[in-house]
Symmetry: C2
Subunit: 127 residues, 2 copies
Amino acid sequence: MTTATTTTCATVRAYHQARFRGDIPAAARHLAEPFRFQSPLMTSDSPHDHLSGLDAFLGIVTGVDLVSEPYGETEATLVYDVHTSIPAVGTRRTAEHFHLTNGRIDTIRLNFDATPWHAVMQAATSS
Amino acid sequence: MTTATTTTCATVRAYHQARFRGDIPAAARHLAEPFRFQSPLMTSDSPHDHLSGLDAFLGIVTGVDLVSEPYGETEATLVYDVHTSIPAVGTRRTAEHFHLTNGRIDTIRLNFDATPWHAVMQAATSS
């Protein structure tokens, strides 16, 4: 690995671990400003907004299995399976692409099949 | 890059390019047997079955923009946007994870939000 790739690896791993243990301040330290988050269900332009829903999300996560984590000099893509406690959602394969500038994450592109989430979200907002 | 990473990069790029130009024999040469393909909409256990739907798929693809391509020694994840001619589907962000054994691709995990595809497929099968 080059020095830049080692930095990317350390930053993305630290962010990933902090986020899934619910440590918002530790996760936020690895995010840059300006920041851009995109997923099939939502977008965000600030680290604070992006992490503000973390507690609710972790409340339905029962486990995470990392499938793959190749790293480049300024980017990485983690592929992992998120196990949830919601039967209709089940296990969601997720691919999360990170772009870094000056050692911090400035863009996250989260990718998963959101199909089962729509009915769950509709039920939650109409109940 | 290590020699193994260089081989992975060359193989995955060659497969990606052959596939999107519709060259099934060239794409197939990079796939191993046994082979496993998983996506939100389908799975396949053979290179032949996996590539048999390629012509129909390319018929609705109007362009592909590669976002990211980090490579490891035996794996890679391409992130790209697929532009389609189907308005309800539009542009689909896709993350494709490849695992290689002995220089050939033995596993592909394709990840995208399949939400708009369900209505399109239902309309196609009921028409």
